[in-house]
Every structure is written in structure tokens, then in C-alpha cells.
């Protein structure tokens, strides 16, 4: 009964919002028609219905292939890392890079090296690697030791433990990582489609529709992309629910055990250097396998030369510097706004649960909408401005931060709250003295998890719309066939992103002490 009334109220809120949206759209009150009414969007979708199958099938095929390949690699890597500490150290750099890298920075490089839909498949695979890798490793490691004993007593070896226990125990974790990985694969594919490759693909369609002054079409493409991402998510949520009788936490543990290599600082530093070496080694290996012309393909050394001894090095350096000084502050502002919004909603939810619950569905939808499809819509509504970029950033950082903060607020010790209550404080007081201080470390964690998304959000906005910063530099360099810059942006953005997450990781450690 209670569930039903809650459901009814939720539906009511959605209907009211749709109605307001319809009025706003019909009267063209937002950005002179930038926000079409829901019925207009559906009408456009119907009109374009024959466009979708070819585009959608190419996108689904690329994303699906990338999803499978990336997950196979991630599961194997995770299993090895669970078994051998040394492998975990070696693979840490790779995982960290793939977690932090703004994928769009890799697109031009992939387009130099591969043709057709291959870049899309690779980018999708890169996008799914990290969540599945972490889930596999944790799932295989954290098994019930008593079950291990049972297998050992029956004469089992470590291989038997792997076969009979570790794989099965890790399964729910892996499936719940798939929930996150499936939309990520779509995101990777869409981003790579922006770069070209073939005439088909939802991303290509979106890019082609950008200049057509037809907001309804952009919205309907966004709607379709969201539907795809949401159904992929729900498919794995469903399988996961069937798999685990006991319910699992709604979020995958994406926190890379940051300094996870515990021990003296020199050991951790050594591990870091070695695992960075692995990434560089992989890079060199791929280049040598692909056998590309050195004019197009740049080794790490070539990039260093490009930025130092090359005759035009100082020009390149200043262009790069200018781009970063445009992009990074925006990403930071967006991240902070996203965190603030997340904190605000989390606080509202803990003070006025009903109010918060009404807002939540919309937060969820904004979460499933693939960023490449969402960005043009935000730009439509807010114009090609800094504001649009910040809004994009907020929309990607908000939800994960919200979940993290809410968990922290929910777990503040009841005893401490009682102390406040006994001294005459109400909900607000206990929030101020107990909840908020407790949420500070969670805010830092949220910042670490959201920082890469913030960077990606800003770069996509720049790439598609505002023509500033790093995103634009990528675009320009492709146009000018400035291969050195293409590789430099890709490499430095990985480095910068990893550095930023590491800094937040450090801050996280300090606040948790």
C-alpha cells in the first residue's frame, strides 16, 4: 500500500513536469524553441523513423563488440591481479589511466591508427575496462574464507578454489559492473563516432544534425540514445537481481584502492613508476605492431621532442598551455558546482525525504543520458557559453557525487546524533554538527570519482560547441594535420587527469585520518 502511494506520487510528479515541459515547449519559452515540447519531439522521432535503423545498428554493433572485447580483457586482467600482487602493481597504471582519461582526447589518435568502425570498438572497450577490472579483482579476492577451507579440505588446489569459488563469488560483482560498463560502451562509441570513420552511427547522425536548426531532432536522438543506455543498464540490473538472492549495493565500488600499494613511500613510488612504464611499453608495442609511419604515429620520445627541441616547440607549448588554462578552470568550476548541487540535494533528502524523492527520478534520467547526446541539448538551451559548459559538467558530476555523499550522511553514527538531540538540537543542528562534518571525506571521494567526468564534460562541450580549450585544440589539430599536437593532447590529458585524481586521492587520505 505504502509502495503504491509512493509510486502514484512519483508518477504524479513526472506527469506534472511533462505538462510544464509541454507548455514551455509549445510557447517556445526556453531559448527560442531550444526546448521543444515532448509531443513535438515524439512527432520528429516518428518523422525520422526510417533514419534510425541503419545508424542505430552500426552503433549497437560497435558498442556491443567493444563491450565484449573490453570486458574479456578486463576480466582476465582482474583475475590475474586478484591472484598475483605483482600483477596488480603492474596493471595499476593502466587502470588508473583508463579511469581518468577524457576519452575524447583519444579519438583523434585512434582515427589516425585505424579505419572504419575500429576506433569506435576500441574506445568502447577502453570505456568498459576499468569498472569490470576492479569488480573482477575485488570479487575474486574478497571470497568467504570458510568456503576456501571447504574446497581445500576436499583436496583442492588454488586452481580448484578459483574454479569452484572465486569465479562464482565474483559473478554478481562483475554483472553489476556490466550495468555501469554497458552505458559506458555506448558513450565511448558515440564519442568515436563524432570523429567520423563511416557515414553511419548515432553519433554521426547527431553530429550531422547539429547545424540543422532542428532542436526536435537533436532531442529525439538524445532520447533514443538514452533509451539504449537505460535498457542496457536495466538488462544487467535484471540479470544481477536474478543472480544474487541477497541484494547488493546499488553502486559498484569504483574506488581504485588509491595508494592500495601500502608500504613505505619509496615502494609505492617504485610501483607507480613501474606501472607507468607498463603503459608506455604497451604504447610502444602497439605502435610497432601497427607499423605506422613515424610522421603520423608518435612515440613518447617524439612527443617530448615535439615539446622541447622541435623548432616550433615554443609555439606548440604555448598553444597547449593556453588550451589547458581554458579547460581546467572550467572543469574545476563545474566539478565544484556539481558537488555543491549534490550536497544540497543530499541534505534536502536527509531533512525532507519526500521532497528529495520527487527530484530523484530526474537526476537518474540525466545520469543515463549519454554525455555526447546530452551536451548538444544543454548547449541548445544555454547557448554556446561558459554557462553551458558548466552545466554539462554539473550534469555528469552531480549524480555519482550525490550517491557518495548520501551514503556518508546516512551512515553518520546514530549515537552522535543522539548526543545533539539530548542537548536540545533538532534535525538541522544534528546535520550541522554531525552529518556535514562526517560528509567532508565523502565530498573529497566524490570529487576524486567525478573529476575525470568533469574534464570529459568540458572537453566534449568545447569540441562540439564552444570552440575553446582542449576540445577545440583537438579539432583544430585534426584539421591542420598537426599529428604532434594530436598525440600531445592525448598523452598530456592522460597525465593531467591521473595527476588530478591522485591529488584528490591524497586529499582523501588526509581527510579520512
Amino acid at each position: 500500500m505504502k509502495n503504491f502511494s509512493r509510486f502514484a506520487r512519483g508518477t504524479g510528479v513526472v506527469l506534472i513536469v511533462l505538462a510544464i515541459w509541454e507548455i514551455l515547449g509549445r510557447l517556445e519559452l526556453v531559448g527560442q524553441g531550444a526546448l521543444p515540447a515532448p509531443t513535438q519531439i515524439l512527432a520528429q522521432l516518428w518523422k525520422d523513423r526510417s533514419d534510425y535503423p541503419p545508424h542505430l545498428s552500426v552503433t549497437l554493433k560497435s558498442a556491443g563488440t567493444g563491450f565484449v572485447i573490453g570486458n574479456i580483457i578486463a576480466i582476465i586482467a582482474g583475475a590475474i591481479a586478484a591472484r598475483f600482487r605483482i600483477a596488480e602493481t603492474l596493471l595499476r597504471g593502466l587502470g588508473m589511466s583508463l579511469f581518468a582519461v577524457p576519452l575524447i582526447a583519444i579519438v583523434p589518435v585512434l582515427l589516425l591508427a585505424f579505419t572504419g568502425t575500429t576506433p569506435r570498438i576500441i574506445l568502447a572497450a577502453m570505456a568498459v575496462y576499468f569498472p569490470t577490472y576492479i569488480a573482477t579483482m575485488n570479487g575474486m579476492r574478497n571470497v568467504d574464507e570458510r568456503l576456501v577451507d571447504v574446497v581445500m579440505v576436499a583436496g583442492g588446489s588454488t586452481t580448484d578454489v578459483l574454479r569452484w569459488i572465486r569465479v562464482r563469488s565474483a559473478l554478481p560483482y562483475i554483472v553489476s559492473a556490466f550495468r555501469v560498463a554497458a552505458p559506458a560502451a555506448l558513450l565511448g562509441t558515440l564519442l568515436a563516432e563524432f570523429g567520423g570513420g563511416t557515414r553511419w552511427g548515432l553519433g554521426t547522425y547527431l553530429l550531422g544534425s547539429l547545424g540543422q536548426a532542428n532542436p526536435s531532432r537533436l532531442w529525439s536522438i538524445g532520447l533514443v540514445a538514452t533509451a539504449v543506455a537505460a535498457s542496457a543498464y536495466m538488462l544487467f540490473a535484471f540479470i544481477g537481481a536474478r543472480l544474487t538472492q541477497s541484494s547488493m549495493s546499488a553502486t559498484v565500488q569504483t574506488s581504485l584502492p588509491m595508494g592500495g600499494a601500502t608500504g613505505p613511500w619509496w615502494k609505492r613510488l617504485g610501483g607507480g613508476v613501474i606501472s607507468a612504464g607498463v603503459v608506455l611499453g604497451l604504447w610502444a608495442l602497439v605502435l610497432s605492431i601497427l607499423d605506422m609511419s613515424p610522421v603520423v604515429a608518435k612515440s613518447p620520445f617524439a612527443i617530448v621532442r615535439y615539446l622541447t627541441t622541435d623548432p616550433r616547440a615554443s609555439v606548440s607549448r604555448s598553444r597547449l598551455f593556453d588550451a589547458y588554462s581554458e579547460t581546467l578552470p572550467l572543469a574545476l568550476i563545474g566539478l565544484l558546482c556539481g558537488l555543491a548541487a549534490a550536497l544540497l540535494l543530499a541534505v534536502i533528502l536527509s531533512l525532507r525525504p519526500a521532497l528529495g524523492r520527487a527530484v530523484l527520478p530526474f537526476a537518474l534520467v540525466s545520469q543515463t543520458m549519454p554525455l555526447p547526446a546530452l551536451t548538444p541539448l544543454i548547449v541548445l538551451v544555454f547557448g554556446r557559453s561558459i554557462l553551458a559548459t558548466v552545466v554539462v559538467c554539473v550534469s555528469v558530476t552531480f549524480f555519482p557525487s550525490f550517491v557518495t555523499i548520501l551514503q556518508a550522511l546516512a551512515t553518520t553514527s546514530p549515537a552522535a546524533i543522539d548526543v545533539v538531540r539530548v542537548s536540545g538540537g533538532g534535525r538541522l543542528k544534528s546535520l550541522r554538527f554531525v552529518g556535514l562534518p562526517g560528509a567532508v571525506p565523502a565530498m573529497v571521494t566524490a570529487a576524486r570519482l567525478a573529476a575525470p567526468r568533469a574534464l570529459l564534460g568540458v572537453m566534449i562541450a568545447e569540441y562540439l560547441a564552444t570552440g575553446d580549450g582542449l576540445g577545440n585544440l583537438l579539432n583544430e589539430s585534426r584539421g591542420r594535420l598537426d599529428y604532434g599536437m594530436i598525440w600531445t593532447v592525448a598523452t598530456t590529458s592522460v597525465l593531467v587527469a591521473v595527476l588530478i585524481t591522485q591529488l584528490f586521492g591524497l586529499a582523501e587520505k588526509l581527510t579520512r585520518q
Partner: protein, 264 residues
């Protein structure tokens, strides 16, 4: 069969075994110079206060851990050799069932680990299931069973490989008194059929006497065996012996030893 021959050679010999655990700023002497002999095919009960090292000793015998000093032998084999040969049956204090496997599949697990074809054991498994009173629950998942039922699955699992050495760590601790008595009788029956060398850890003095040829009493901190008491009753034993004065006498003696050894 040749394996039965090997049962005959498998007396259990524990000599001066020591095991300490390092805690943060403390060391626990879980076992201090423990020695114990269990002849082939005999049944020993192990009683002692909580934390005196009973489970630790069983884990050492199961080859799951190694002693810091001293030796453990089963015949001329180390526990680890016995373990890898799949010749041990162990029921832990905690049922430790795989939550994703049904009752039937939990019982077949040791066979699968040993690489034996499960279908050859179909009748054995069916017998075991009826023995532990779980007919009709073959396809239930552990989460659908009561604590006592789960423990009975664990016992069936320990027996399915027809082990030569049986190590039971408070297998009936979670059962009610009536079921416990029934299970005691059943255990005696199963055990008499093949006579695996058995160590049973229990908190119940009655159970210890009723089932065993000898009862070893341990003391805590440091964990030591302070006395080994013979149980004179003929087999097969019937529940009525528990009312005999001889039984009561023995029980009194054991509880005195327990209290003297720091029990409560």
C-alpha cells in the same frame, strides 16, 4: 579394496604441537605442547573451554595450517598429504555452505573437487540426505534452510567422500536437544559402518561420552590436553546408558576436570 587397506595404517599421532597467533600487541598460545594418539578406527571426543584451541588443533589435522613446532602424522602421511589425496572429511563449526548451490550440489562439491564422477555416488548421496533427514530439501538453497538444517548438510558433505579420517568441529552445536540425540545415534551408526578415525569437538559432555572411545580434556591459555579419559561402554550404545550411574560418574569426573582446567 586397496584404500581400505590404507585405513588400517592410519593411526593419528600428534606430538608436542605448538601454535601461537600474533595479534597486534599480544601473542596467543593457542596450542602449547599438545600430544595425542588416536588409534586407527577409534573415536575421540575433544572437550574444553571456549578458546582453548580445539578448532585450531582440528585445522592443523586438516592440513589447513601448519604448526609452529611439533609434528602431526596420520599413519606415515602428513595432514597436507592426506588433504590433497582427499582422504579427510571435515565439518566445521560453521556450516560454510555455498549460498549459490542447492543442498544436493553442496554435498557433491567435494566429489567434484576430487574429480570423481558425481553420478557414481547418486545412491550414496541419497542415503546421506535421508540419514541427515533432509529428504525433500535436495533442491533448496542454504538461505531457505534453518541453521540446524544447514549444519546437517555440512555433515553430509563431510561424509560423502567416505573419508578415512573424520574431523568434526561441534557439528551439532546448532541443533536442539532432541535432534541432537537423534543425530548422535545416527553418527554412531554411520561411524560403525566404516569406522573412520574420528575426532569430535563438542561442548556437550554427554555427547562426548556417548560417542567416544576416549575423551580428551583441554585447558585454556595456554591450550593443553590435561587428561584423556577412557569410556568403557560396549558398542553399539543405546541412549539408556546415559541414565546409568557409571555414565553419570564419568560425566561428573569430566566436568570437574573442565572446571579445574579453567572452564566455566
Amino acid at each position: 579394496m586397496s584404500t581400505l587397506q590404507e585405513v588400517a595404517g592410519g593411526a593419528l599421532r600428534v606430538q608436542n604441537v605448538e601454535r601461537t597467533f600474533a595479534l597486534k600487541d599480544d601473542v596467543v598460545r593457542a596450542l602449547d605442547k599438545v600430544s595425542l594418539e588416536v588409534p586407527v578406527g577409534s573415536f575421540i571426543s575433544l572437550i574444553g573451554p571456549s578458546g582453548c584451541g580445539k578448532s585450531t588443533l582440528l585445522r592443523l589435522l586438516a592440513g589447513l595450517e601448519s604448526p609452529d613446532a611439533g609434528s602431526l602424522l596420520i599413519g606415515d602421511k602428513t595432514p597436507n598429504e592426506m588433504r590433497t589425496a582427499g582422504r579427510l572429511g571435515v565439518a566445521f563449526q560453521d556450516p560454510a555452505l555455498m549460498p549459490w548451490r542447492s543442498v544436493w550440489k553442496n554435498i557433491t562439491l567435494p566429489l567434484q573437487v576430487m574429480g570423481k564422477p558425481v553420478k557414481d555416488f547418486k545412491t550414496v548421496i541419497e542415503e546421506l540426505i535421508s540419514l541427515v533427514g533432509l529428504q525433500g530439501f535436495e533442491h533448496a538453497l542454504p538461505s531457505q534452510l534453518s541453521g540446524g538444517m544447514r549444519q546437517r548438510v555440512a555433515i553430509a558433505r563431510a561424509l560423502v567422500t567416505e573419508p578415512e579420517v573424520l574431523l568434526l568441529d561441534e557439528p551439532f552445536g546448532a541443533l536442539d536437544e532432541i535432534l541432537r540425540r537423534t543425530m548422535n545415534l545416527e553418527l554412531q551408526r554411520i561411524w560403525s559402518a566404516r569406522r573412520p578415525t574420528t575426532i569430535l569437538v563438542t561442548h556437550s559432555i554427554e555427547e562426548a561420552i556417548f560417542l567416544a572411545d576416549k575423551v580428551a580434556v583441554m585447558s585454556a591459555r595456554p591450550g593443553r590436553i590435561i587428561e584423556i579419559v577412557d569410556v568403557p561402554f560396549e558398542r553399539p550404545r543405546v541412549p539408556e546408558i546415559m541414565r546409568s550411574s557409571e555414565f553419570h560418574h564419568l560425566a561428573d569426573r569430566l566436568s570437574e576436570l573442565l572446571f579445574a582446567g579453567g572452564g566455566h
